[in-house]
Protein backbone atom coordinates (compact mmCIF):
# COMPACT_ATOMS: atom_id res chain seq x y z
CA UNK A 1 0.00 0.00 0.00
CA UNK A 2 2.95 2.29 0.65
CA UNK A 3 3.68 2.95 -2.99
CA UNK A 4 0.16 4.21 -3.57
CA UNK A 5 0.60 6.73 -0.78
CA UNK A 6 4.08 7.76 -1.85
CA UNK A 7 3.25 8.15 -5.55
CA UNK A 8 1.36 11.48 -5.29
CA UNK A 9 4.47 12.96 -3.68
CA UNK A 10 7.06 11.22 -5.86
CA UNK A 11 5.40 12.11 -9.19
CA UNK A 12 5.57 15.91 -8.82
CA UNK A 13 9.10 15.59 -7.44
CA UNK A 14 10.29 13.66 -10.49
CA UNK A 15 8.42 16.07 -12.74
CA UNK A 16 10.19 18.96 -11.04
CA UNK A 17 13.59 17.35 -11.64
CA UNK A 18 12.81 16.67 -15.30
CA UNK A 19 11.39 20.16 -15.77
CA UNK A 20 14.49 21.64 -14.23
CA UNK A 21 16.75 19.71 -16.59
CA UNK A 22 14.73 20.83 -19.62
CA UNK A 23 14.17 24.40 -18.50
CA UNK A 24 16.06 25.82 -21.50
CA UNK A 25 13.73 24.19 -23.98
CA UNK A 26 9.96 24.46 -24.49
CA UNK A 27 9.77 20.80 -23.51
CA UNK A 28 9.50 21.79 -19.83
CA UNK A 29 5.91 22.97 -20.08
CA UNK A 30 4.76 19.70 -21.64
CA UNK A 31 6.60 17.72 -18.98
CA UNK A 32 4.73 19.78 -16.42
CA UNK A 33 1.36 19.06 -18.04
CA UNK A 34 2.21 15.37 -18.37
CA UNK A 35 3.42 15.16 -14.77
CA UNK A 36 0.26 16.79 -13.43
CA UNK A 37 -1.88 14.44 -15.50
CA UNK A 38 -0.08 11.41 -14.12
CA UNK A 39 -0.55 12.87 -10.65
CA UNK A 40 -4.26 13.19 -11.36
CA UNK A 41 -4.46 9.52 -12.33
CA UNK A 42 -2.52 8.50 -9.20
CA UNK A 43 -4.77 10.58 -6.97
CA UNK A 44 -7.91 9.10 -8.55
CA UNK A 45 -6.56 5.63 -7.80
CA UNK A 46 -5.78 6.73 -4.24
CA UNK A 47 -9.28 8.13 -3.87
CA UNK A 48 -10.85 4.93 -5.17
CA UNK A 49 -8.76 2.86 -2.77
CA UNK A 50 -9.68 5.00 0.22
CA UNK A 51 -13.36 4.85 -0.72
CA UNK A 52 -13.15 1.08 -1.01
CA UNK A 53 -10.94 0.20 1.94
CA UNK A 54 -11.29 3.09 4.38
CA UNK A 55 -8.30 4.86 5.89
CA UNK A 56 -5.00 3.55 4.56
CA UNK A 57 -1.57 4.11 6.04
CA UNK A 58 1.95 3.29 4.94
CA UNK A 59 5.16 3.28 6.95
CA UNK A 60 8.08 4.72 5.03
CA UNK A 61 11.28 2.70 5.21
CA UNK A 62 9.31 0.00 7.04
CA UNK A 63 9.86 1.63 10.41
CA UNK A 64 6.79 0.79 12.46
CA UNK A 65 4.64 3.70 13.67
CA UNK A 66 5.05 5.76 15.76
CA UNK A 67 8.84 5.65 15.18
CA UNK A 68 9.02 6.07 11.42
CA UNK A 69 7.39 8.50 9.07
CA UNK A 70 3.83 7.55 8.38
CA UNK A 71 1.82 8.51 5.33
CA UNK A 72 -1.93 8.33 5.89
CA UNK A 73 -4.85 8.92 3.59
CA UNK A 74 -8.32 9.22 5.00
CA UNK A 75 -11.18 10.69 2.99
CA UNK A 76 -10.15 14.28 3.70
CA UNK A 77 -6.52 13.70 2.68
CA UNK A 78 -7.56 11.81 -0.43
CA UNK A 79 -9.96 14.49 -1.61
CA UNK A 80 -7.43 17.23 -0.95
CA UNK A 81 -4.81 15.37 -2.98
CA UNK A 82 -7.35 14.87 -5.76
CA UNK A 83 -8.36 18.51 -5.88
CA UNK A 84 -4.70 19.55 -5.78
CA UNK A 85 -4.07 17.36 -8.81
CA UNK A 86 -7.05 18.90 -10.62
CA UNK A 87 -5.77 22.42 -9.95
CA UNK A 88 -2.25 21.35 -10.95
CA UNK A 89 -3.48 20.07 -14.31
CA UNK A 90 -5.56 23.20 -14.91
CA UNK A 91 -2.76 25.59 -14.00
CA UNK A 92 -0.03 23.71 -15.86
CA UNK A 93 -2.12 23.90 -19.05
CA UNK A 94 -2.87 27.57 -18.42
CA UNK A 95 0.83 28.24 -17.86
CA UNK A 96 1.55 27.32 -21.49
CA UNK A 97 -0.05 30.61 -22.44
CA UNK A 98 0.65 32.63 -19.33
CA UNK A 99 4.29 31.97 -18.47
CA UNK A 100 6.82 33.50 -20.82
CA UNK A 101 10.08 31.93 -21.90
CA UNK A 102 12.13 34.08 -19.56
CA UNK A 103 10.34 32.64 -16.54
CA UNK A 104 10.57 29.15 -17.98
CA UNK A 105 14.33 29.49 -18.28
CA UNK A 106 14.47 30.54 -14.65
CA UNK A 107 12.81 27.27 -13.73
CA UNK A 108 9.13 28.11 -13.36
CA UNK A 109 7.93 24.57 -14.10
CA UNK A 110 10.39 22.99 -11.68
CA UNK A 111 9.29 25.32 -8.87
CA UNK A 112 5.63 24.80 -9.69
CA UNK A 113 5.90 21.04 -9.44
CA UNK A 114 7.97 21.31 -6.29
CA UNK A 115 5.17 23.41 -4.81
CA UNK A 116 2.63 20.74 -5.74
CA UNK A 117 4.85 18.08 -4.14
CA UNK A 118 4.95 20.11 -0.93
CA UNK A 119 1.19 20.64 -0.89
CA UNK A 120 0.44 16.97 -1.53
CA UNK A 121 2.99 15.92 1.06
CA UNK A 122 1.37 18.14 3.67
CA UNK A 123 -2.03 16.59 2.94
CA UNK A 124 -0.85 13.03 3.14
CA UNK A 125 1.61 12.93 6.00
CA UNK A 126 0.72 11.47 9.35
CA UNK A 127 3.59 12.96 11.30
CA UNK A 128 3.85 16.49 12.65
CA UNK A 129 7.54 17.02 11.97
CA UNK A 130 7.11 15.66 8.49
CA UNK A 131 4.27 18.16 8.06
CA UNK A 132 6.76 20.87 8.98
CA UNK A 133 9.17 19.62 6.33
CA UNK A 134 6.42 19.64 3.67
CA UNK A 135 5.45 23.14 4.73
CA UNK A 136 9.03 24.20 4.10
CA UNK A 137 9.18 22.51 0.70
CA UNK A 138 6.01 24.35 -0.20
CA UNK A 139 7.26 27.59 1.27
CA UNK A 140 10.62 27.71 -0.47
CA UNK A 141 9.01 26.83 -3.81
CA UNK A 142 6.39 29.54 -3.29
CA UNK A 143 9.10 32.09 -2.43
CA UNK A 144 10.76 31.32 -5.73
CA UNK A 145 7.53 31.49 -7.72
CA UNK A 146 6.47 34.72 -6.08
CA UNK A 147 9.56 36.71 -7.03
CA UNK A 148 10.24 34.96 -10.34
CA UNK A 149 10.63 37.72 -12.89
CA UNK A 150 11.84 40.20 -10.29
CA UNK A 151 9.57 43.18 -10.94
CA UNK A 152 9.81 45.72 -8.09
CA UNK A 153 6.22 45.02 -6.92
CA UNK A 154 7.04 41.35 -6.69
CA UNK A 155 10.12 42.01 -4.56
CA UNK A 156 8.06 44.31 -2.36
CA UNK A 157 5.24 41.79 -1.92
CA UNK A 158 7.77 38.98 -1.58
CA UNK A 159 9.53 40.58 1.37
CA UNK A 160 6.28 40.74 3.34
CA UNK A 161 5.26 37.24 2.36
CA UNK A 162 8.63 35.78 3.29
CA UNK A 163 8.91 37.69 6.58
CA UNK A 164 5.53 36.68 7.99
CA UNK A 165 5.67 33.11 6.78
CA UNK A 166 9.08 32.60 8.36
CA UNK A 167 7.72 33.80 11.70
CA UNK A 168 4.87 31.33 11.41
CA UNK A 169 7.32 28.54 10.62
CA UNK A 170 9.27 29.26 13.79
CA UNK A 171 6.06 29.19 15.86
CA UNK A 172 5.23 25.83 14.33
CA UNK A 173 8.69 24.47 15.09
CA UNK A 174 8.53 25.65 18.71
CA UNK A 175 5.12 24.04 19.09
CA UNK A 176 6.48 20.76 17.74
CA UNK A 177 9.40 20.87 20.17
CA UNK A 178 7.17 21.49 23.18
CA UNK A 179 4.69 18.85 22.12
CA UNK A 180 7.45 16.28 21.73
CA UNK A 181 8.85 17.20 25.11
CA UNK A 182 5.44 16.63 26.67
CA UNK A 183 4.36 13.45 24.94
CA UNK A 184 7.45 11.85 23.40
CA UNK A 185 5.81 11.35 20.02
CA UNK A 186 5.07 13.32 16.89
CA UNK A 187 2.98 10.77 15.08
CA UNK A 188 -0.43 12.39 14.81
CA UNK A 189 -2.40 9.23 15.43
CA UNK A 190 -0.24 8.44 18.44
CA UNK A 191 -0.56 12.01 19.69
CA UNK A 192 -4.35 11.76 19.63
CA UNK A 193 -4.17 9.48 22.67
CA UNK A 194 -0.78 10.52 24.07
CA UNK A 195 -1.94 14.07 24.81
CA UNK A 196 -4.50 12.76 27.30
CA UNK A 197 -1.73 12.07 29.78
CA UNK A 198 -0.06 15.45 29.36
CA UNK A 199 -0.47 18.58 31.44
CA UNK A 200 -3.69 19.99 29.99
CA UNK A 201 -2.84 23.64 30.69
CA UNK A 202 0.51 23.35 28.93
CA UNK A 203 -1.25 21.54 26.10
CA UNK A 204 -3.56 24.51 25.63
CA UNK A 205 -0.54 26.80 25.30
CA UNK A 206 0.93 24.52 22.65
CA UNK A 207 -2.46 24.42 20.93
CA UNK A 208 -2.44 28.20 20.70
CA UNK A 209 1.10 28.13 19.23
CA UNK A 210 -0.14 25.78 16.54
CA UNK A 211 -3.21 27.92 16.03
CA UNK A 212 -1.04 30.98 15.35
CA UNK A 213 1.36 29.06 13.12
CA UNK A 214 -1.38 27.55 10.96
CA UNK A 215 -3.42 30.74 11.24
CA UNK A 216 -0.70 32.69 9.44
CA UNK A 217 -0.61 30.06 6.68
CA UNK A 218 -4.38 30.04 6.42
CA UNK A 219 -4.47 33.87 6.42
CA UNK A 220 -7.00 34.37 9.21
CA UNK A 221 -7.66 37.63 11.01
CA UNK A 222 -5.47 39.17 12.44
CA UNK A 223 -2.60 37.33 10.74
CA UNK A 224 -3.53 37.69 7.08
CA UNK A 225 -1.70 40.87 6.07
CA UNK A 226 0.93 39.11 3.98
CA UNK A 227 -1.72 37.76 1.62
CA UNK A 228 -3.23 40.91 0.09
CA UNK A 229 0.29 42.37 0.08
CA UNK A 230 1.67 39.73 -2.24
CA UNK A 231 -0.91 37.64 -4.08
CA UNK A 232 -1.61 40.20 -6.79
CA UNK A 233 2.05 40.62 -7.80
CA UNK A 234 3.27 37.38 -9.47
CA UNK A 235 2.25 35.77 -12.78
CA UNK A 236 -1.43 34.85 -12.99
CA UNK A 237 -0.88 31.13 -13.00
CA UNK A 238 1.19 31.57 -9.82
CA UNK A 239 -1.51 33.61 -8.10
CA UNK A 240 -4.11 31.04 -9.13
CA UNK A 241 -2.26 28.12 -7.61
CA UNK A 242 -1.41 30.14 -4.48
CA UNK A 243 -5.01 31.29 -4.12
CA UNK A 244 -6.36 27.82 -4.67
CA UNK A 245 -4.00 25.75 -2.60
CA UNK A 246 -1.61 27.49 -0.20
CA UNK A 247 -3.97 28.97 2.35
CA UNK A 248 -6.02 25.80 2.20
CA UNK A 249 -3.02 23.80 3.42
CA UNK A 250 -3.17 25.96 6.55
CA UNK A 251 -6.89 25.32 6.90
CA UNK A 252 -6.34 21.61 6.38
CA UNK A 253 -3.64 21.58 9.06
CA UNK A 254 -5.97 23.39 11.47
CA UNK A 255 -8.79 21.01 10.65
CA UNK A 256 -6.56 17.99 11.18
CA UNK A 257 -4.81 19.03 14.38
CA UNK A 258 -7.81 20.64 16.07
CA UNK A 259 -10.01 17.59 15.58
CA UNK A 260 -7.38 14.91 16.16
CA UNK A 261 -4.97 16.30 18.75
CA UNK A 262 -6.17 19.53 20.34
CA UNK A 263 -9.74 18.65 21.24
CA UNK A 264 -9.17 18.64 25.00
CA UNK A 265 -10.34 22.16 25.78
CA UNK A 266 -12.70 23.10 23.00
CA UNK A 267 -14.45 25.68 25.16
CA UNK A 268 -11.25 27.72 25.04
CA UNK A 269 -9.57 26.93 21.71
CA UNK A 270 -12.65 26.63 19.55
CA UNK A 271 -14.18 29.78 21.04
CA UNK A 272 -11.07 31.65 19.90
CA UNK A 273 -11.51 30.05 16.49
CA UNK A 274 -15.13 31.21 16.39
CA UNK A 275 -14.18 34.83 17.02
CA UNK A 276 -11.35 34.53 14.51
CA UNK A 277 -13.81 33.13 11.96
CA UNK A 278 -16.23 36.02 12.41
CA UNK A 279 -13.58 38.70 12.15
CA UNK A 280 -11.87 36.98 9.21
CA UNK A 281 -15.12 36.90 7.23
CA UNK A 282 -15.99 40.53 7.92
CA UNK A 283 -12.54 42.11 7.61
CA UNK A 284 -11.78 40.18 4.42
CA UNK A 285 -14.97 41.18 2.68
CA UNK A 286 -14.69 44.82 3.76
CA UNK A 287 -11.10 44.89 2.55
CA UNK A 288 -12.30 43.57 -0.78
CA UNK A 289 -14.99 46.24 -1.00
CA UNK A 290 -12.33 48.94 -0.66
CA UNK A 291 -10.18 47.63 -3.52
CA UNK A 292 -10.37 48.55 -7.17
CA UNK A 293 -8.10 45.97 -8.78
CA UNK A 294 -9.50 42.61 -9.80
CA UNK A 295 -6.71 40.57 -8.27
CA UNK A 296 -6.67 42.60 -5.05
CA UNK A 297 -10.42 42.16 -4.65
CA UNK A 298 -10.03 38.44 -5.18
CA UNK A 299 -7.13 38.27 -2.70
CA UNK A 300 -9.21 39.84 0.05
CA UNK A 301 -11.99 37.41 -0.77
CA UNK A 302 -9.67 34.52 -0.06
CA UNK A 303 -9.31 35.90 3.47
CA UNK A 304 -13.04 36.32 3.85
CA UNK A 305 -13.78 32.80 2.59
CA UNK A 306 -11.20 31.26 4.91
CA UNK A 307 -13.40 32.59 7.71
CA UNK A 308 -16.22 30.29 6.64
CA UNK A 309 -14.02 27.22 6.80
CA UNK A 310 -12.71 28.20 10.23
CA UNK A 311 -16.32 28.73 11.29
CA UNK A 312 -17.06 25.11 10.45
CA UNK A 313 -14.09 23.96 12.52
CA UNK A 314 -14.98 26.26 15.41
CA UNK A 315 -18.55 24.98 15.74
CA UNK A 316 -17.25 21.39 15.76
CA UNK A 317 -20.64 19.79 15.23
CA UNK A 318 -20.88 17.02 12.60
CA UNK A 319 -22.82 19.27 10.24
CA UNK A 320 -20.35 22.13 10.68
CA UNK A 321 -17.38 19.91 9.79
CA UNK A 322 -19.32 18.65 6.77
CA UNK A 323 -19.75 22.29 5.76
CA UNK A 324 -16.06 23.06 6.30
CA UNK A 325 -14.91 20.10 4.19
CA UNK A 326 -17.40 20.92 1.43
CA UNK A 327 -16.38 24.57 1.54
CA UNK A 328 -12.69 23.69 1.36
CA UNK A 329 -13.10 21.68 -1.83
CA UNK A 330 -15.51 24.09 -3.49
CA UNK A 331 -13.39 27.09 -2.64
CA UNK A 332 -10.18 25.69 -4.18
CA UNK A 333 -11.91 25.14 -7.52
CA UNK A 334 -13.69 28.49 -7.59
CA UNK A 335 -10.86 30.66 -6.37
CA UNK A 336 -8.19 29.24 -8.66
CA UNK A 337 -10.61 29.73 -11.53
CA UNK A 338 -11.31 33.39 -10.74
CA UNK A 339 -7.60 34.17 -10.77
CA UNK A 340 -7.21 32.37 -14.09
CA UNK A 341 -10.04 34.50 -15.50
CA UNK A 342 -8.39 37.65 -14.21
CA UNK A 343 -5.33 36.57 -16.22
CA UNK A 344 -7.38 36.41 -19.42
CA UNK A 345 -8.90 39.82 -18.68
CA UNK A 346 -5.39 41.20 -18.27
CA UNK A 347 -4.28 39.72 -21.58
CA UNK A 348 -7.16 40.93 -23.72
CA UNK A 349 -8.22 44.13 -21.94
CA UNK A 350 -4.77 45.26 -20.86
CA UNK A 351 -4.98 45.23 -17.08
CA UNK A 352 -6.77 44.17 -13.93
CA UNK A 353 -7.27 47.68 -12.54
CA UNK A 354 -11.03 48.06 -12.85
CA UNK A 355 -10.96 51.71 -13.90
CA UNK A 356 -8.71 50.91 -16.86
CA UNK A 357 -10.62 48.02 -18.38
CA UNK A 358 -14.13 47.38 -19.60
CA UNK A 359 -16.28 46.13 -22.40
CA UNK A 360 -15.59 42.45 -21.78
CA UNK A 361 -19.26 41.48 -21.80
CA UNK A 362 -19.91 42.93 -25.22
CA UNK A 363 -16.81 41.75 -27.01
CA UNK A 364 -15.92 38.59 -25.07
CA UNK A 365 -19.26 37.11 -23.96
CA UNK A 366 -17.74 33.65 -23.49
CA UNK A 367 -15.38 35.00 -20.84
CA UNK A 368 -18.31 36.78 -19.19
CA UNK A 369 -20.23 33.53 -18.88
CA UNK A 370 -17.16 31.78 -17.53
CA UNK A 371 -16.71 34.56 -14.97
CA UNK A 372 -20.31 34.49 -13.81
CA UNK A 373 -20.13 30.84 -12.78
CA UNK A 374 -17.31 31.04 -10.20
CA UNK A 375 -18.17 34.59 -9.14
CA UNK A 376 -21.74 33.72 -8.24
CA UNK A 377 -20.63 30.45 -6.74
CA UNK A 378 -18.26 32.39 -4.47
CA UNK A 379 -21.10 34.64 -3.39
CA UNK A 380 -23.31 31.62 -2.72
CA UNK A 381 -25.97 31.71 -5.41
CA UNK A 382 -28.00 28.56 -5.98
CA UNK A 383 -27.58 26.25 -7.78
CA UNK A 384 -23.80 26.67 -7.74
CA UNK A 385 -21.40 24.91 -5.38
CA UNK A 386 -20.97 27.89 -3.06
CA UNK A 387 -24.65 27.89 -2.17
CA UNK A 388 -24.51 24.43 -0.66
CA UNK A 389 -21.27 25.20 1.15
CA UNK A 390 -22.75 28.30 2.77
CA UNK A 391 -26.10 26.60 3.37
CA UNK A 392 -24.47 23.78 5.35
CA UNK A 393 -22.43 26.18 7.49
CA UNK A 394 -25.28 28.59 8.21
CA UNK A 395 -27.55 25.67 9.06
CA UNK A 396 -24.87 24.28 11.38
CA UNK A 397 -24.56 27.67 13.09
CA UNK A 398 -28.33 27.99 13.51
CA UNK A 399 -28.55 24.47 14.93
CA UNK A 400 -26.37 25.50 17.86
CA UNK A 401 -28.21 28.82 18.32
CA UNK A 402 -25.32 30.78 16.86
CA UNK A 403 -27.64 33.50 15.61
CA UNK A 404 -24.99 36.19 15.43
CA UNK A 405 -22.36 34.16 13.59
CA UNK A 406 -25.01 32.84 11.18
CA UNK A 407 -26.09 36.42 10.54
CA UNK A 408 -22.49 37.45 9.91
CA UNK A 409 -22.03 34.56 7.47
CA UNK A 410 -25.13 35.61 5.54
CA UNK A 411 -24.24 39.31 5.54
CA UNK A 412 -20.73 38.55 4.31
CA UNK A 413 -22.27 36.57 1.44
CA UNK A 414 -24.24 39.67 0.52
CA UNK A 415 -21.13 41.86 0.61
CA UNK A 416 -19.35 39.29 -1.56
CA UNK A 417 -22.01 39.86 -4.20
CA UNK A 418 -21.34 43.57 -3.90
CA UNK A 419 -17.69 43.25 -4.91
CA UNK A 420 -18.46 40.64 -7.55
CA UNK A 421 -20.97 43.02 -9.13
CA UNK A 422 -18.32 45.74 -8.92
CA UNK A 423 -16.00 43.62 -11.05
CA UNK A 424 -18.92 42.71 -13.30
CA UNK A 425 -20.07 46.29 -13.79
CA UNK A 426 -16.67 47.84 -14.39
CA UNK A 427 -14.75 45.12 -16.22
CA UNK A 428 -17.58 43.51 -18.14
CA UNK A 429 -20.42 45.95 -18.57
CA UNK A 430 -19.02 49.43 -18.93
CA UNK A 431 -17.26 50.22 -22.20
CA UNK A 432 -13.49 50.16 -22.21
CA UNK A 433 -12.15 53.62 -21.21
CA UNK A 434 -9.75 53.65 -24.18
CA UNK A 435 -12.47 52.63 -26.60
CA UNK A 436 -10.81 49.33 -27.54
CA UNK A 437 -12.81 46.14 -27.85
CA UNK A 438 -11.11 43.38 -25.86
CA UNK A 439 -11.67 40.29 -27.98
CA UNK A 440 -10.68 36.71 -27.17
CA UNK A 441 -9.63 36.39 -30.80
CA UNK A 442 -6.73 38.75 -30.11
CA UNK A 443 -5.06 35.76 -28.45
CA UNK A 444 -3.30 33.22 -30.62
CA UNK A 445 -5.22 29.97 -31.09
CA UNK A 446 -2.78 28.11 -28.86
CA UNK A 447 -3.02 30.65 -26.05
CA UNK A 448 -6.77 30.83 -26.32
CA UNK A 449 -7.12 27.08 -25.97
CA UNK A 450 -4.56 26.86 -23.16
CA UNK A 451 -6.29 29.59 -21.16
CA UNK A 452 -9.95 28.81 -21.77
CA UNK A 453 -9.92 25.01 -21.49
CA UNK A 454 -8.81 24.96 -17.82
CA UNK A 455 -11.20 27.79 -16.97
CA UNK A 456 -14.09 26.01 -18.64
CA UNK A 457 -13.15 22.73 -16.98
CA UNK A 458 -13.12 24.24 -13.50
CA UNK A 459 -16.39 26.10 -14.22
CA UNK A 460 -18.04 22.83 -15.28
CA UNK A 461 -16.81 21.25 -12.03
CA UNK A 462 -18.41 24.12 -10.08
CA UNK A 463 -21.72 23.61 -11.86
CA UNK A 464 -21.58 19.84 -11.40
CA UNK A 465 -20.94 20.17 -7.64
CA UNK A 466 -23.75 22.73 -7.48
CA UNK A 467 -26.40 20.87 -9.42
CA UNK A 468 -25.64 17.41 -8.07
CA UNK A 469 -24.54 18.12 -4.50
CA UNK A 470 -25.86 14.85 -3.10
CA UNK A 471 -22.80 12.60 -3.61
CA UNK A 472 -20.45 15.42 -2.61
CA UNK A 473 -22.34 16.15 0.60
CA UNK A 474 -22.45 12.45 1.40
CA UNK A 475 -18.73 12.31 0.85
CA UNK A 476 -18.20 15.31 3.11
CA UNK A 477 -20.37 13.63 5.74
CA UNK A 478 -18.29 10.48 5.65
CA UNK A 479 -15.14 12.54 5.80
CA UNK A 480 -16.43 14.61 8.74
CA UNK A 481 -17.38 11.43 10.56
CA UNK A 482 -13.78 10.25 10.20
CA UNK A 483 -12.48 13.55 11.53
CA UNK A 484 -14.75 13.61 14.55
CA UNK A 485 -14.19 9.97 15.41
CA UNK A 486 -10.56 9.30 14.57
CA UNK A 487 -10.64 5.64 15.68
CA UNK A 488 -10.30 4.33 12.13
CA UNK A 489 -7.43 6.76 11.49
CA UNK A 490 -5.61 5.67 14.63
CA UNK A 491 -6.13 1.96 13.94
CA UNK A 492 -4.91 2.36 10.37
CA UNK A 493 -1.69 3.99 11.57
CA UNK A 494 -0.90 2.13 14.77
CA UNK A 495 -2.36 -1.25 13.94
CA UNK A 496 -4.63 -1.64 16.94
CA UNK A 497 -6.58 0.60 19.28
CA UNK A 498 -4.20 1.45 22.15
Amino acid sequence: MSWLLALPVVIPFLTAVLAFLTRQSPLGRWISVAGSSVLLVASIILMATVLREGVIAGQMGNWPAPFGITLVADLLSAVMVLITAIVAVAVSIYAIADVDEGMERLGYHALFNMLIAGVVGAFITGDLFNLYVWFEVMLIASFGLLVLGGRPEQIDGGVKYVALNLVSTIMFLTGIGLLYGMTGTLNMADLATAVDGADQRLLTIVAVLFMIAFGVKAAVFPLFFWLPASYHTPAFSVSAVFAGLLTKVGVYALLRTFTLIFDHDTAFTHTILLWVAGFTMVVGVLGAAAQSDMRKILSFHIVSQIGYMILGLALLTPLAIVGAVFYLVHHIVVKANLFLIAGVAQRIAGGTELSRIGGLYKSAPLLAVLFVVPAFSLAGFPPLSGFWAKFLLVKAALDVQGWIIAGIALAVGLLTIYSMTKIWAQAFWEPHPDGVEPKLSSLSTRDRAAMLIPIAGLAVLTVVIGTMPEPFVQFAEASAAQLLDPTAYIIAVLGEQP
Binding site: F143, D156, K160, L166, T174, Y180
Partner: protein, 119 residues
Protein backbone atom coordinates in the same frame (compact mmCIF):
# COMPACT_ATOMS: atom_id res chain seq x y z
CA UNK B 1 20.87 22.95 33.28
CA UNK B 2 17.32 23.39 31.93
CA UNK B 3 17.20 26.63 33.86
CA UNK B 4 20.26 28.00 32.06
CA UNK B 5 18.82 27.00 28.73
CA UNK B 6 15.47 28.56 29.58
CA UNK B 7 17.17 31.86 30.42
CA UNK B 8 19.22 31.72 27.22
CA UNK B 9 16.13 31.03 25.13
CA UNK B 10 14.30 33.84 26.85
CA UNK B 11 17.10 36.32 26.18
CA UNK B 12 17.32 35.21 22.55
CA UNK B 13 13.59 35.66 22.04
CA UNK B 14 13.61 39.05 23.74
CA UNK B 15 16.49 40.27 21.58
CA UNK B 16 14.84 38.82 18.49
CA UNK B 17 11.51 40.52 19.16
CA UNK B 18 13.30 43.82 19.77
CA UNK B 19 15.16 43.49 16.47
CA UNK B 20 12.08 42.37 14.55
CA UNK B 21 10.06 45.35 15.72
CA UNK B 22 12.64 47.85 14.50
CA UNK B 23 11.94 49.72 11.30
CA UNK B 24 14.71 48.11 9.28
CA UNK B 25 14.56 44.95 7.21
CA UNK B 26 18.08 43.77 7.86
CA UNK B 27 17.50 43.91 11.60
CA UNK B 28 14.28 42.02 11.07
CA UNK B 29 16.24 39.23 9.37
CA UNK B 30 18.78 39.19 12.20
CA UNK B 31 15.91 38.92 14.66
CA UNK B 32 14.47 36.05 12.67
CA UNK B 33 17.79 34.20 12.79
CA UNK B 34 17.96 34.66 16.57
CA UNK B 35 14.39 33.51 17.17
CA UNK B 36 14.86 30.47 14.97
CA UNK B 37 17.85 29.49 17.08
CA UNK B 38 15.73 29.95 20.17
CA UNK B 39 13.20 27.54 18.66
CA UNK B 40 15.96 25.04 17.90
CA UNK B 41 17.23 25.25 21.48
CA UNK B 42 13.68 24.67 22.74
CA UNK B 43 13.46 21.43 20.80
CA UNK B 44 16.91 20.47 22.03
CA UNK B 45 15.89 20.94 25.65
CA UNK B 46 12.64 19.05 25.06
CA UNK B 47 14.76 15.95 24.43
CA UNK B 48 16.20 16.07 27.98
CA UNK B 49 19.68 17.32 28.85
CA UNK B 50 22.08 14.82 30.32
CA UNK B 51 25.65 15.11 31.39
CA UNK B 52 28.26 12.56 30.41
CA UNK B 53 25.91 9.87 29.12
CA UNK B 54 27.56 8.01 26.24
CA UNK B 55 25.81 8.32 22.89
CA UNK B 56 26.68 4.74 21.94
CA UNK B 57 26.75 1.76 24.27
CA UNK B 58 28.42 -1.62 23.73
CA UNK B 59 26.21 -4.36 22.41
CA UNK B 60 24.35 -6.15 25.15
CA UNK B 61 24.97 -3.44 27.76
CA UNK B 62 22.07 -1.64 29.39
CA UNK B 63 21.39 1.95 28.48
CA UNK B 64 22.30 4.46 31.20
CA UNK B 65 19.37 5.28 33.43
CA UNK B 66 19.18 8.87 32.32
CA UNK B 67 20.14 9.50 28.70
CA UNK B 68 19.14 12.27 26.35
CA UNK B 69 16.64 11.43 23.63
CA UNK B 70 18.45 11.52 20.30
CA UNK B 71 15.39 12.23 18.18
CA UNK B 72 15.00 15.94 19.05
CA UNK B 73 18.67 16.37 18.15
CA UNK B 74 17.94 14.89 14.74
CA UNK B 75 14.95 17.20 14.44
CA UNK B 76 17.09 20.20 15.33
CA UNK B 77 19.61 19.22 12.66
CA UNK B 78 16.85 19.07 10.08
CA UNK B 79 15.47 22.38 11.25
CA UNK B 80 18.91 24.00 11.06
CA UNK B 81 19.43 22.80 7.50
CA UNK B 82 15.98 24.00 6.41
CA UNK B 83 16.46 27.27 8.26
CA UNK B 84 19.80 27.79 6.52
CA UNK B 85 18.14 27.51 3.14
CA UNK B 86 15.28 29.81 4.07
CA UNK B 87 17.54 32.48 5.53
CA UNK B 88 19.87 32.35 2.56
CA UNK B 89 16.86 33.10 0.39
CA UNK B 90 15.55 35.78 2.74
CA UNK B 91 18.90 37.60 2.86
CA UNK B 92 19.25 37.55 -0.92
CA UNK B 93 15.68 38.83 -1.20
CA UNK B 94 16.43 41.68 1.18
CA UNK B 95 19.55 42.52 -0.81
CA UNK B 96 17.46 42.51 -3.98
CA UNK B 97 14.92 44.76 -2.26
CA UNK B 98 17.73 47.16 -1.43
CA UNK B 99 18.94 47.31 -5.04
CA UNK B 100 15.49 47.60 -6.67
CA UNK B 101 13.57 49.63 -4.11
CA UNK B 102 16.50 51.63 -2.70
CA UNK B 103 15.18 51.26 0.80
CA UNK B 104 15.11 48.79 3.62
CA UNK B 105 12.52 50.68 5.64
CA UNK B 106 9.27 48.74 5.54
CA UNK B 107 7.28 51.98 5.75
CA UNK B 108 8.70 53.06 2.39
CA UNK B 109 7.85 49.78 0.70
CA UNK B 110 4.48 50.62 -0.74
CA UNK B 111 4.91 49.54 -4.36
CA UNK B 112 2.66 46.51 -4.13
CA UNK B 113 0.13 48.35 -1.97
CA UNK B 114 0.26 52.01 -2.93
CA UNK B 115 -1.20 54.42 -0.41
CA UNK B 116 -4.67 55.57 -1.32
CA UNK B 117 -4.74 59.00 -2.84
CA UNK B 118 -6.59 61.32 -0.47
CA UNK B 119 -9.89 62.25 -1.93
Amino acid sequence: MEFLFAITIGVLVAAAVYLMLSNHLLRFIFGLVLISNAANLTIFVAGRLTDGAPPLIPEGADAPALAANALPQALVLTAIVIGFGLFAFAIVLVFRAWTTLNSLTPDDMRLAEPEEAHK
